[in-house]
Symmetry: C2
Subunit: 147 residues, 2 copies
Amino acid sequence: MEISIGRLSAETGVKVPTIRYYEQIGLMAKPPRSEGNQRKYDRAARERLRFIRHARDLGFPLEAVRELLSMSGAPGDPCAAADDIARRQLAEVELRIARLTALREELQRMLGQCAHGTISDCRVIEVLGNHDLCQHTHQADHRHDAA
Amino acid sequence: MEISIGRLSAETGVKVPTIRYYEQIGLMAKPPRSEGNQRKYDRAARERLRFIRHARDLGFPLEAVRELLSMSGAPGDPCAAADDIARRQLAEVELRIARLTALREELQRMLGQCAHGTISDCRVIEVLGNHDLCQHTHQADHRHDAA
DNA sequence: CTAATTCCTCTAGCAACTAGAGCTTCAAGA
DNA sequence: TCTTGAAGCTCTAGTTGCTAGAGGAATTAG
């Protein structure tokens, strides 16, 4: 049951260059190669990659994923540490939701008051130029790409 | 009313290297320099930087900020474009809130079921290893630093 | 057997900064 | 006036988590 990197990619939903990247940073082990130097993966590698993918989907940063992986290899250890990582992740997510919710309100207010005239009386531009017009203090999470 | 970069930083909440970075990418104009080659800013620069800061706090990407700035310099133009940018930003924010809310639930469920025993029966690790145990499909926004 | 696809390595780029090295200038106190 | 320490300067490189492209070798379908 040896599969190519392309196959592994299709089966896990992780893109090929990303798999190679994970190998490069030591998150995935270097797999054996074929005659012609191509990577060959086994079931264990696929499971590991699925685990990574899932953790990433849940928003865990790679460093946390690394820790979780090392724990998953030590079944006898207490699970408090894993619990703790997940708890911190939850706190992160909640913080971000709170921030984004404040942003949403501000944006809605801004848009709701826009008279659709010219820039000179545009609420959007005006509010941006003068924070005093805001209801909340706000601070975005500054990152943008969606997964 | 000429102020140093440090002063400008203190008055706007934008860090000194960030101001220089904005200059480098052409978001802020190159200011005049003192005898000894130090940047000197005026009121207009401060207002512009405040505008940028505020837009960033609301989560607008730098490219959008650039557009908004150029609009704010053309008071006679119709405001539909500014409106549109803000509307798109709002849609972005709403999407991210929806995703994060799904994640939060998943994490809560994971944590709620944790028996605090050993890794071998840790729900956190188990769920990560097997997506079928999930209630939702989820996909994070993958980015993390908070502002 | 050939042609299309997939694979390889390597470097560089993305957003939006942040950090550090190694140097110069400025402001304030003695 | 001198001095010292903070703040300024430029430049390069690093951060996170990938993604894109060049230029070539291997594999696989027909």
